[in-house]
């Protein structure tokens, strides 16, 4: 205890500290309520009959939850198909991005070759060109390749990433040069070193990249909107939600149920991989 506080009776100080603690929790909880309120309302409304939703004041708790909105969103809203499509697109993009980033990052970190600097700057330059300004031509490119309304059209333009390459290069640069030389003397060539030593050691960075790329491809909006047709064959869940909202205007509970379904995979992702997600999202801040 600091001696300067001797004048204050211990009990007062204790209760003062406790009230500050309570105040802090109140503030934190208030913040949590503000952040979660829209989601809470969505969940509640998804369990209500449309007539109840319109009731004034709207009920804040579903006393008689109506789960059938979920089954209707799943079947009539084709949510099951959309989720599958999103899963396939995301799986392709995550795998592709991790693969190309690992390979390119390894080359930049461990190999010597002419024009290395120029090529690295070229990779970084892609970060300056937002995907949005390339959609005009990309749309006609995938159309002429016959990839309109296909998984190839949804995924191929995103199979490489400057950010991911940069992230992997940084991770590989952390690996001591001695390890590569030791592996070389132990008889392992460069690719064997990549597979058996560099990739296992860079696992945290790979996980961060994978989670980051999962998040960004699952939530894509502009490109799937442009590159998919009007049938459901490859339409992703984000576009499906827009569709659901347009077709089920009178049944908000069904749209909201669809929204909840669409967001569940990401909530799971957040809870399980929070550490990796934070790492991926803040990687750019590290100089």
């Amino acid at each position: 205890m600091p001696p300067t506080d001797l004048k204050t009776p211990a009990t007062t100080r204790k209760s003062h500290r406790r009230s500050r603690l309570i105040l802090r929790y109140v503030l934190l909880t208030l913040g949590a309520v503000i952040v979660l309120f829209p989601v809470y309302v969505a969940i509640v409304n998804s369990l209500l009959e449309p007539s109840q939703i319109a009731h004034q004041p709207p009920p804040l708790f579903p006393l008689h939850p109506q789960w059938n909105s979920y089954s209707r969103a799943w079947s009539q809203g084709s949510l099951g198909i959309y989720l599958r499509n999103s899963a396939i697109q995301t799986a392709l993009i995550v795998t592709g991005q991790v693969a190309t980033s690992v390979l390119a990052g390894f080359a930049f970190a461990f190999l010597a070759f002419p024009f290395k600097r120029t090529l690295f700057i070229t990779f970084l330059a892609t970060l300056m060109i937002p995907f949005e300004v390339t959609v005009t031509t990309n749309l006609s490119t995938i159309t002429s390749l016959g990839w309109f309304n296909s998984y190839a059209g949804l995924a191929v333009p995103f199979l490489a990433t400057g950010f991911g390459t940069f992230l992997m290069r940084q991770a590989f640069l952390q690996i001591p040069r001695d390890l590569r030389e030791a592996a070389e003397l132990d008889g392992y060539g460069r690719l064997a070193f990549l597979w058996r030593v560099a990739i296992p050691l860079a696992r945290p960075a790979i996980a961060a990249l994978a989670v980051f790329s999962f998040l960004s491809s699952w939530n894509q909006y502009l490109w799937p909107l442009l590159a998919t047709g009007n049938d459901n064959s490859v339409r992703t869940v984000q576009i499906g939600l827009k569709q659901l909202l347009n077709t089920q205007l009178d049944q908000i509970n069904v749209s909201l149920a669809g929204t909840v379904i669409a967001v569940v995979p990401l909530i799971v992702l957040l809870v399980i991989f929070q550490k990796q997600l934070v790492r991926g999202l803040t990687a750019g801040a590290v100089k």
Partner: protein, 294 residues
């Protein structure tokens, strides 16, 4: 010699997949914009476009629709970035304590980062609905309804973007707070700095790299947002001209008007604005940013 040749070939082989994708889907379409901008598309799709030189660029840049779009975009960015950053900072400071249950609060505060634009739009669309939402009950019921109201539609979609950005902003600020040098804060405490002084005089300057990063990320994020507008407002809406941000303009030019020439001009404008903003941010903000180490 032979070994270094083998090493170079391997390197190029490893770079090839990424370079091919970048070449076809990033650099080529980016440059193609400059060619497309010189060709005007006829009002009816199917007819060939024809070369008009810079006249199309001039007419787009001079049109009222474009000016209105620019204004809407900047208003949108100016609402989203500061509010999102300050909100994230406030949450991060509140949660920067070793207290029981803090990891739950952190998860909740970061959670909006996973929300997609469609999810956020549907959820907020319900909240802002003139009939079923909470707002009418609270007595907030402007005419025309919020999402069709030329005055309120843009702030409303900005609110959605702020909510979505809150999670990322919180994560960036928390990472910044956690990397603050503990000794400096302790030294300031020993020097007698109180809570509020300490926050503004010590914490915020030390946090400036994270704030800077947040501004850059937030600006890019705000420029790329249009999904809320597409889902909740749309081109038939009365508030459309007041919410037609640049990217939505590009999208409509492409998919509704089938006009690649217009889209290309707008894409170049969008790229230029982002480039200039990024450079300006680096030039002016970075000079003021205090980097704790290096």
């Amino acid at each position: 010699m032979r070994r270094s040749l083998r090493e170079s070939s391997l390197a190029y082989l490893l770079l090839l997949p990424a370079l091919a994708i970048f070449g076809v889907f990033t650099f080529y379409p980016f440059l193609e914009n400059f060619r497309l901008a010189l060709y005007e598309n006829p009002p009816f799709p199917g007819l060939p476009s024809h070369y008009v030189g810079l006249s199309q660029v001039g007419s787009v840049l001079g049109s009222t629709g474009f000016h209105q779009s620019l204004v809407s975009t900047f208003l949108f960015v100016i609402m989203v970035v500061p509010c999102g950053l300050l909100g994230g900072l406030a949450l991060a400071v509140a949660a920067h304590q070793k207290l029981a249950g803090m990891s739950i609060y952190r998860t909740i505060f970061s959670s909006t980062v996973v929300s997609s634009v469609a999810v956020a739009a549907v959820v907020f669309g319900t909240l802002m609905d003139p009939v079923v939402g909470l707002l009418p009950w609270l007595g907030i019921n402007p005419t025309p309804p919020i999402l069709s109201n030329p005055t309120w539609a843009l702030p409303a979609v900005a609110l959605i973007a702020i909510w979505q950005f809150l999670g990322l902003s919180f994560i960036i600020m928390t990472a910044g707070l956690q990397s603050l040098p503990e000794e400096v804060l302790e030294a300031a405490r020993l020097d007698g700095a109180g809570g509020w002084t300490m926050f503004w005089r010590i914490t915020v300057p030390l946090l400036s790299p994270s704030l800077f990063f947040g501004v850059v990320v937030g600006t890019i994020y705000a420029f790329q947002s249009f999904g809320q507008i597409d889902i909740l407002i749309g081109p038939q809406n009365a508030a459309f001209t007041h919410t037609n941000v640049l990217l939505y303009y590009v999208y409509n030019a492409l998919s509704v008007q089938n006009n690649p020439g217009l889209a290309a001009v707008l894409s170049i404008v969008l790229f230029t604005i982002l480039l200039v903003l990024t450079l300006v941010q680096f030039r002016f903000l970075e000079r003021r940013v205090h980097y704790a180490s290096d």
